[in-house]
Amino acid sequence: MGNWGDIIIQGILLGGLYGLSAAGLSLMFGVMRLVNVAHGDMIIASAFLSLVIQRLTGVDSPFLCLPLVCVLMFACGFGLQRLVLNRALNADMLRPVLVTFGLSVVIQNGMLEAFSADSQRLQANGLEVASVSLGGGLVVGVVPLLIFASCVAVTGVLQWILYRTELGRAFRATSDDPVTAGLMGVNDRNLFAIATGIALAVAGIAGTFTGIRSSFYPTSGPESLLFAFEAVIIGGLGSLWGTLAGGIVLGVAQGLGAGFSSAWQMLAGHIAFLVVLMVRPTGLFPKRGN
């Protein structure tokens, strides 16, 4: 039992990271039906951003850099949407996919040029090796626990924004009917920019945690994107808590696969996704129909 329990707990905690990676993707799709193919690369870019800030300021812990990373990523997201992505939004979905795919290639190769292909890791002042005992022989790392707690907190905050604030109301209204939302005085271009800003701020958190938890490369973005995407689909479109649940399913499946080999860790996650797609194409926790 000990071993299985351990695998499942680790998987759930890993799922927190996937949930965090997926939240931004889910938000952008929910608000403007835009699938950001460069999302994974933006997560990895923010890990590099943390690295650079940590080196420049000499701060001990990347956790202290996090607010600055979030602010910078929000600004990037806002600018990106205003200057680039808003122009790609139109009736057909070919353009947004190809534009964000192009951005993904640009960001990834830009990072390769700037940081080389070497692996990097964020130093968290010894915290990354600390662990706590949960009793019953279960020991979990402090960092995975922190990541999971942050994911729950971030999902809670996003949920609160969406359903309890005027901004969230405008997000949902615009998603339903952008023309009528315009009649209410909603400036959709600005609103979309805010949504992308928030999505990238969350990607900033996900990226920093990715960097603390494990080593990362400039080419890690696509992997991040695929896991985030799988978490969204497993959880069901349009549900933030569902996305977190999807991340957990993915994390547990990967944990079970890791028992065989590192290739199976990846494979098991992807297979879990394909199985859900076959059995329940709307995901495990789809948003209830209107």
Binding site: R169, R172, A173, V179, L183, G185, V186
Partner: protein
């Protein structure tokens, strides 16, 4: 000075020219009805004023200032509200949230949730329901309430009666009656000619994108309307 002054407005709906050199005036606090056959350009006319359909800048004066071609989000802030044809409620929002969306532009004024519920008491009972679970008449009340929440100086209603039972239509017009007056002008597109004539101060009849008749609602005759409606 009139609140809305439209001179030589031509507008297209897609590739199709729907309005030709139209002239129309709405006085402060006046209630105007627009009638006309399907395809006469009534909806496009309202949409052009509301900024949903592009229009040349000088063709529409609101409060003496050119507003043609401004985007709808800027026009709400100036006091122009449209109740769109088919109601267009936000499906994933509750009744109350739909009403609150109306106040998004934060235009100061007398309207509040409580006052809208005062006009349409049934909405208070249903305020936490999803807007799509309501009956057609109730949905229309939400759409009107939502527009009122923006504290408009000009309230435009596109086909309020569409698909509603006569008793429900009567209810809605009864609720709207007391709102006519000094603070708010109304521009109402209505298929039901009798309703249009009895509710409005003046009326316009459109035919194929042009004004075919205008006059005091009490003064126009049945014969005038039917010839303006269907053409000579």
């Amino acid at each position: 000075m009139s609140l809305v002054d439209i001179r030589g407005l031509s507008a297209c709906y897609g590739d199709f020219q729907a309005l030709f050199d139209m002239t129309c005036e709405v006085g402060e606090g006046e209630t105007i009805a627009i009638i006309g056959a399907n395809g006469a350009g009534k909806s496009t006319f309202l949409k052009a004023i509301a900024g949903v359909v592009p229009a040349p800048s000088e063709a529409i004066l609101f409060d003496g200032k050119p507003i043609g071609g401004l985007r709808s989000m800027e026009l709400v802030a100036r006091g122009i509200a449209l109740v769109p044809e088919g109601r267009c409620l936000f499906a994933s929002l509750s009744v109350e949230e739909n009403l609150l969306m109306g106040a998004y532009a934060k235009r100061p004024g007398e309207w509040s949730l409580a006052k809208v519920y005062g006009v349409f008491p049934r909405l208070r009972e249903r305020r936490h329901q999803s807007a799509t679970t309501l009956s057609g008449g109730e949905q229309q009340m939400v759409a009107i309430g939502r527009a009122l929440m923006s504290n408009p100086r000009l309230l435009m209603c596109d086909e309020i009666s569409l698909g509603l039972a006569p008793s429900v239509i009567a209810n809605i017009y009864q609720a709207l009656g007391p709102l006519k007056g000094r603070h708010m002008a109304m521009l109402i597109v209505e298929q039901d000619i009798h309703q249009a004539v009895s509710f409005s101060d003046r009326l316009y009849c459109f035919q194929e994108g042009r004004v075919s008749l205008t006059g005091q609602s009490t003064a126009v005759t049945h014969a005038q309307i039917s010839s303006a409606y269907f053409g000579a």
